[in-house]
Amino acid sequence: MPSASSVVSMALATRTDRRPSMTRTLWDSSVGKKTIMAVSGLIMLGYLAVHMLGNLKIFFGSGEFNHYAHWLRTLGEPFLHYEWALWIIRVVLVAAVVLHAVSAYQLSRRDLRARPTAYVHKKARSSYATRTMRYGGVILALFIVWHILDLTTGTVHTGGFQPGHPYQNVLDTFSTWYGNVIYIVAVLALGLHVQHGFWSAAQTLGVGSATRDRVLKTLANLLAVVLTAGFVSVPVAVMTGLVS
């Protein structure tokens, strides 16, 4: 039989259970996983912005473009060894991609499980960018693989991959029809992905508010357009002969 004091303490019981670690909570919670997606997404977005600006150097000719590409390998010297900075960036990026993709996969599975029976009366509602996040993500993942095999390792490159000569390699890729198609489709998917993704990340990280919403939405649109235009300009320039 419980003693008087234990009865009273039962009545006034409070939660005293130990909480799991912050990382554990982040990974286990749908909100936490969204945070991981937001942060990894923003890292990739930051990388893409720099990448896009670097790409534009192609308009200044092969010398400057190749020099820029080589400089990337010497970044951080003499403090860092040759190519170390690039490898650090690659590791961070791979980690971001993996975290982003795994979180997206797990969250998507959760989402699909949450609605096992579909509505009979179907209705398309939310914006195109919002509805295509998942497909867009898959397209981008496949693109990244192709892109690396094409222009980093040269495995699937056509026209003879020349390490250290990125300018020529880029010209080769964009002189095939499928190279252009794959690239442009992927960049358009990227634009859509960024348009919803950037705004969504802001909400997930709690920086959005009713008053800031217009600013964030404009910024998302601007980022999407600038990135898309910047990336697309290269194959377009190659196709039109502006860059040759």
């Binding site: 006034l12 409070t14 939660r15 909480r19 670690s21 912050m22 909570t25 982040l26 286990d28 919670s29 749908s30 909100v31 936490g32 996983k33 969204k34 945070t35 969250l107 959760r110 989402d111 699909l112 499980r113 949450a114 609605r115 096992p116 029976t117 579909a118 509505y119 009979v120 009366h121 179907k122 209705k123 509602r125 939310s126 919002t130 509805r131 996040m133 919803h196 705004w199 969504s200 802001a202 909400q203 997930t204 990280l205 709690g206 920086v207 959005g208 508010s209 009713a210 919403d213």
Partner: protein, 248 residues
Amino acid sequence: MKLTLRVWRQQNAEAPGAMATYEVDGISQDMSFLEMLDTLNEELILGGDEPVAFDHDCREGICGACSLVINGDAHGPERTTTCQLHMRSFEDGDTIDIEPWRASAFPVVKDLVVDRSSFDRIIQAGGYISAPTGTAPDAHATPVPKPDADSAFEHAECIGCGACVAACPNGSAMLFTSAKVNHLNVLPQGAPERETRVLDMVATMDDEGFGGCTLTGECATACPKGIPLPSITAMNKEWLRANRKVRR
């Protein structure tokens, strides 16, 4: 008005369901949507059929019981509860599809009735302020700035109907959960349990099998009480803050 209704019929949670078609005639524009269903049910009963089961109670738009997806929209074409939807929103000769809320966390009980006790369990996880009866100081002991009081009220208006979950392509309960978190966390009275509240409620929300939020905004569009989408943003912020603070 004469209408064709296609209604989800399902005998119980285990049985398979399907859409059944019914014709109703003599529907007045002034009828509420549920009164239109009453008319159908009276005919079904007299014909010896089981009437269409649906949840409803106050019929004033405040209890949150009614829960129909009408032509693919939670609570139908107007931004209100099903019980406050009137037949003047439809045309003579229309075909109307009526389905239950669909979410694994809201299993169908019968026909259009679903079990929303998962919402109750989210509240039980922390959607309260611990203030046992008799312990309260004078009501004026803690003034609450009007903007905070108004914000708390705006979120407290949630009627727990579940339209947000029904409308969300992911079956997510983020808007519901955030409404309660924000109602209580913005008030000084809610401050002592601010962190545990949001962490425990979100954890329970996940455990109940609701989907994650992809910020499609469908929930806020369907919400009959106008709980705004930034409510979710504010909860995310609370959650991140709590996850940092609670272990200090």
